[in-house]
Symmetry: C2
Subunit: 244 residues, 2 copies
DNA sequence: GATAAATGCGCCATTTTATGTCCTATTTGA
DNA sequence: TCAAATAGGACATAAAATGGCGCATTTATC
C-alpha cells in the first residue's frame, strides 16, 4: 500500500515484503543493516507481517534465515475498472474456448477478480459477460479472407458495446459493396478467430450480423439503447448460441 | 495490506480506501464518526493516502465530500507465482491469437504483471513464453475429432513443461494404437483449438509431436532435462513456428 | 561436545508518531 | 450572508515504535 510515503514503518514493511519476495534468503541482520534499523525492530516487523497473514518462514540456526513462502503473491496489481473488466471477460472467453492449457490457475484469478468488485459492479460485469457468445470455430474457408480490423475500429466498437451506445459504421459486405449504417451492438459472437457484432440495424429496423473485420470505420454516437433479449436475434444466431 | 492487525492506523487506512471505493459520497464528518476518531485525523489519513498516490478528490463547500476517483482500481489482487505466470502466458497467447476484442486494456495489465516480477523471474517467464508457439488455426477436418483431454493429464503436462521434467505418457496415435513413452516436453504448439507437445521421445531418442488430446495419461518423473533449441525440432514444426 | 550463527521474544527506557483540540482560511450552494 | 464542507497550522498529550539487553532455542560446523 505504501509507496513514496512519509510513514517510515509502512514504507519499510512494504520494502521488506518485496525483498523477501525477491531474495531467496535474507537474515534479520542483513535486513536490519539494509534498512538502518535494529535487528529487534526487524523481528517485530516480521511478527507483524506474520500476523497480517504473510507466510514468512524462518530457519533457525547457523545458515538459517527468513523466507517468504514462494507461493505467495509476486506482487499486488492494481487494476482500474476497465482493466479488470477486460481481464475478466478475456479469462471467461479463454475458459470458454476450451483450450485448457495454462488455465489451471486462472480460475482462482477470476474468483479474486470477481470478489474485488462491489456487488453492483459484479452484476454489471455478469450482464456484460452474458452478452458475449462463443460459437464454433470458423471453417477454414471463412478464415482465408480474414484481415485484422484496424484497432481504432475495435476500440470504438468495444466502447460502444460496453456503454450500450449506438454506433455509426461503414461496412463492406461479402460482395464488396460498402454501406453506411447506424447499429446498436447488442451481442458479440466469437467464431474463433472471427468476431461478429449482433446488432439492431437502424436503417432496416431489423437484426443484422456484421463481421468485425469488415467494418471499415466506426464512430460512436451519444444515443444509448436498451438491451433486447437474445430471442430477438434468434435468426442471426443459427445455433451458435453457446453463451458464456 | 492490513487485515486483522495490531496496527490501528493501517487497518483504518485500508477500510477508508474500501469505503471511498464503495460509497459514492462520504464526508470527513461521516468517516470520523464511523471510525471513532476525530475529523482532523481523517483529513490527515486522506492526506497520507493522497501522498501514496490514491486519486482522492474532494469537493469543498456545502454538499461537498470526498471521493475516490472511480477510475481507480476496483481492488488489489494478490497473485501467487503460478497464478501470475499462467495469467501472463494466457494474455500473451490471447494477444498473439490475434482476436483483438477486449484486448485494449490487457496490454497495461500485462505490463503491470511483468513489472511485478523480480528480474530473474521475469527472465524465467520470458523463456517460458518463448517455448510456446502459436501456429495457424487447425483445419476444420482436424477439429472434428477433438476431445477435451482429462484435466489431470493437462495439469501434469503443464507442470512438467514448466519445470522441464521428463514425463511418462500413454499415447494413442491417429490410427488408434496405444503406446507408452518417456518424453521431454520442450515446446508447446497451439493450432487453435488443438495443443501439441513438441518433445524428445526417449524411446526413439528423436523429436516427436504429440496431440495433447490424444494423451491418455501422464505421470511426471523426477528427472529434469536441458532445453534444446527450436532448430532441433524443425521438422516437427513445418512452418508453424509463429512463436510468441 | 563445544561453538558460532541464526531466530524468537520479554522487558524497559527513550524517541518518534499519531491523535485530539482549537484555530483560521477558503470554497460553495442555498 | 450563512451554513456546510475541505484544508491545514500549532501545540499538548497519548500511544506506538525503536533500541539495547538478556535469555532461550535451534542448527550446522569444527
Amino acid at each position: 500500500m505504501a509507496r513514496t510515503n512519509s510513514n517510515d514503518r509502512l514504507k519499510r514493511l512494504e520494502l521488506l515484503a518485496v525483498q523477501l519476495k525477491q531474495d531467496e534468503l535474507c537474515t534479520v541482520k542483513n535486513l536490519a543493516q539494509h534498512h538502518g534499523v535494529s535487528e529487534r525492530t526487524i523481528t517485530r516487523d516480521l511478527l507483524l507481517m506474520r500476523e497480517q497473514g504473510l507466510p514468512i518462514d524462518a530457519d533457525r540456526g547457523r545458515g538459517g534465515g527468513v523466507r517468504l513462502d514462494r507461493n505467495w503473491g509476486v506482487g499486488r496489481i492494481n487494476l482500474t475498472y476497465p482493466e479488470a473488466v477486460d481481464l475478466l471477460i478475456s479469462i471467461a472467453v479463454a475458459e470458454q474456448m476450451n483450450s485448457p492449457m495454462f488455465l489451471a490457475s486462472l480460475g482462482s484469478v477470476r474468483r479474486q477478480l470477481v470478489a474485488s468488485f462491489s456487488p453492483d459492479k459484479r452484476h454489471k460485469v455478469e450482464r456484460l459477460k452474458s452478452r458475449i457468445l462463443i460459437g464454433v470455430t470458423a471453417s477454414t474457408y471463412v478464415q482465408t479472407n480474414l484481415a485484422a480490423p484496424p484497432s481504432r475500429v475495435v476500440q470504438t466498437l468495444h466502447q460502444a458495446f460496453v456503454d450500450q451506445r449506438t454506433l455509426a459504421i461503414r461496412y463492406q459486405n461479402e460482395g464488396g459493396a460498402i454501406s453506411e449504417r447506424q447499429i446498436e451492438p447488442h451481442y458479440l459472437l466469437l467464431n474463433y478467430p472471427i468476431w461478429y457484432v449482433i446488432a439492431l440495424d437502424h436503417l432496416r429496423d431489423a437484426p443484422r450480423t456484421f463481421r468485425c473485420d469488415r467494418i471499415l470505420s466506426a464512430d460512436r454516437t451519444e444515443t444509448r439503447f436498451r438491451l433486447l433479449p437474445k430471442e430477438d436475434f434468434k435468426q442471426s444466431l443459427q445455433g451458435n448460441d453457446a453463451l458464456i
